[in-house]
Structure formats: C-alpha cells, structure tokens
Subunit: 197 residues, 2 copies
Amino acid sequence: MNSPRDIEMLIEMMAKLPGLGPRSARRAVLHLIKKRELLLTPLADVMQIVAATARECVTCGNIGTTDECEICRDPKRQTGEICVVEDVADLWAMERGAVFKGRYHVLGGTLSALDGVGPEDLGIPRLIARVDAEGVSEVILALNATVDGQTTAHYIADQLEDRVAVTSLAQGVPIGGELDYLDDGTISAALKARKRV
Amino acid sequence: MNSPRDIEMLIEMMAKLPGLGPRSARRAVLHLIKKRELLLTPLADVMQIVAATARECVTCGNIGTTDECEICRDPKRQTGEICVVEDVADLWAMERGAVFKGRYHVLGGTLSALDGVGPEDLGIPRLIARVDAEGVSEVILALNATVDGQTTAHYIADQLEDRVAVTSLAQGVPIGGELDYLDDGTISAALKARKRV
Ligand SMILES: [Zn+2]
Ligand SMILES: [Zn+2]
C-alpha cells in the first residue's frame, strides 16, 4: 500500500537478515534504489552469481565456489595441522589472523543434548577419518569459550588424544567470548600460545 | 584469500549498507548462503526486479514502479491536501500512520546554505506549481523537528501562505526527533492535532 509489492517484498526479506530490522531494511532499500546503477544492480548481480556458485567444501565444510575449497586444494596448506572451528565465520576470523597455515574442519555447531546434536551431526567421525587419512600430527581446537564449545572440545580431545596431539587456543580468548568478535591480534596471540589439552 | 572473490565482493557491498558493518555483513552473507534456496536466490531475484523497475514518481518524488506512483494515480487521494516530507522514508512513515488520505510532495532534503541546497534543489517551485494546478486547499508540512527541517518549513510557509492554508504536524513530535523513528500512533496524533503555521 505505501510502496509497490516488489519493493515491500525486498524490504521484508532484508529485514530478516541478522543485524537488520524493519527500519534499517527500509533505509537500506531506499539507499539502494537511490543509487540504483551504482549499488542495487551490481549487488543483485553478485548475489545471483553467489547464489549460483556457492557451496560447502566436501572435505572441511568451508564455503567456496568449488567442491573442494581453496584451502583444501592448496598443497602448501597440508602441514599436518587441522584447526577445528564451530562455523565458517570462525574459519574466516582465523584466516584474518593470518598465522595458521594448515587446514580446517568446520563442525557447523556444538554438541547439545538439549537440541539433540550428536557427534555425527558435527562430522566428528569424518574428522577422525581425516586425521588417519591425511597424516595429521596436530589438531587445534579453536572453539568458542562457551560451555557448549568447551564441552565439544573435551569430547573431541577424548576421541583423538590416542592418535594425535590435540591442542586448544589458549591466551587471549575471554571467558564467555565468541571467536568472531575478537580482533585479529588477539587471535594471532591465542594461536601462538596454544597449549596441549 | 579466506573466501572466493565473488563472496568477498558480496560481503563488501553488504557492509556498505546503512545499519550493517563488516562483521554483520559477513554474518548476513553466511546466513544467506546457508539458506541459498530459501533466502539468497529469492532475494537476488527480487533485487533484480526492483533494480529494473523502481523509479521516482514524476509528480511527488515517491518511489514506485511506474512514472506516476500509486498514490498520485489514485483519484480518491485527490483531497486537496498535500503533505510535504523530507524523504521517501518519511512518506512511508506517514502511510503507516494510515490517517492522511491526500497526496505527498517529497523534498529530498532540507534547505542548507552550508551544503548549497536551495529551493530549486528541493523542488519547491514545483510544489508551488502543483498547489496552483491541482486545486490544493491545504499544505501540511511534515518535516523533521530539526533546525534544518524547521528552517525549510518556515521558508515553504512564507512562499505558500498567500495561496493556501499551510499547517504543520504539531503534537507528539519530540524536539530534535526524526519522523521515521516515531511509532505509528504518535504520527496519527500529530497529524490530527495539526495547527496553522
Ligand atoms: Zn575445504
Ligand atoms: Zn507520486
């Protein structure tokens, strides 16, 4: 009624994105429409491309545009180290730290009896298989310093400690904090000072 | 490096939207990619449609998908009242109030000697022409309660008071407040209690 149906629909869809609400979605859509040539058309185009090409890496769970992600395909990153993270945002946060040179394993969540999330749902059997198949010497647990994150870290350490060295990020991760909120320097420091579980 | 170029570019473009920053843009893009079928593809599609069809109403400056907007084309809204607003977000806020039944005039800003914004830049001569051409009996100034908004309101009132009744929103607009932040009830109350300038 106050704007045509397609524009209403665009606002409604934007309003559901994390970080935006109805008001900021309206502002964002008006901003995009005012700079249509410069912003809206290019954004729509790149969104179409990503919608057509983005996929999960079959090995590590990272998001990329190929079946195996750039990190998994890079032979220089076969260092014998696998860094285990809860989600892709945490993987990207680790990469911004630019210290870790190995590969990743994205769990996609944490163990939770309440929500019925078990080891299989997180690909933990697949992680164990990778440790055996890829000649891994160290698994670094970079999970959030939350109760669920630490419960999951202990479970994975129990499963792996007979096969491989298991370490975890140590210095710099604040109690109750989440990895993706930290500055890059803190992440680098925590990685360098990692300790055996 | 930490994600393919198209995904990086999508994140950078989203991060420039009002209300989003780099971190929330990353979260939003990951969220969209995880629900690609359900969210990303439909969002990209509707964005393409809006990019191809959205335009400014030649009469009032509202944003729609036709040369003249739905409000200007609706004969029931030719009530002899024109509501003057600073931007389209304010027009939409007035429409959510659902009390005003007339038509609009979107200025696209406020007078500002500092920024070199004069009456022509805001379409004020066009507003005066509409008052004469459309048989307008009342112009309602619904400008923000800021210094620039009120300066602009006084200027328009000076130009129009010999031709037509000029009123302004009265009750309920807080000092220093902006229209688009108000709840719908406050806007309705302010419109009902409007007074002559
Ligand atoms: Zn991978
Ligand atoms: Zn119009």
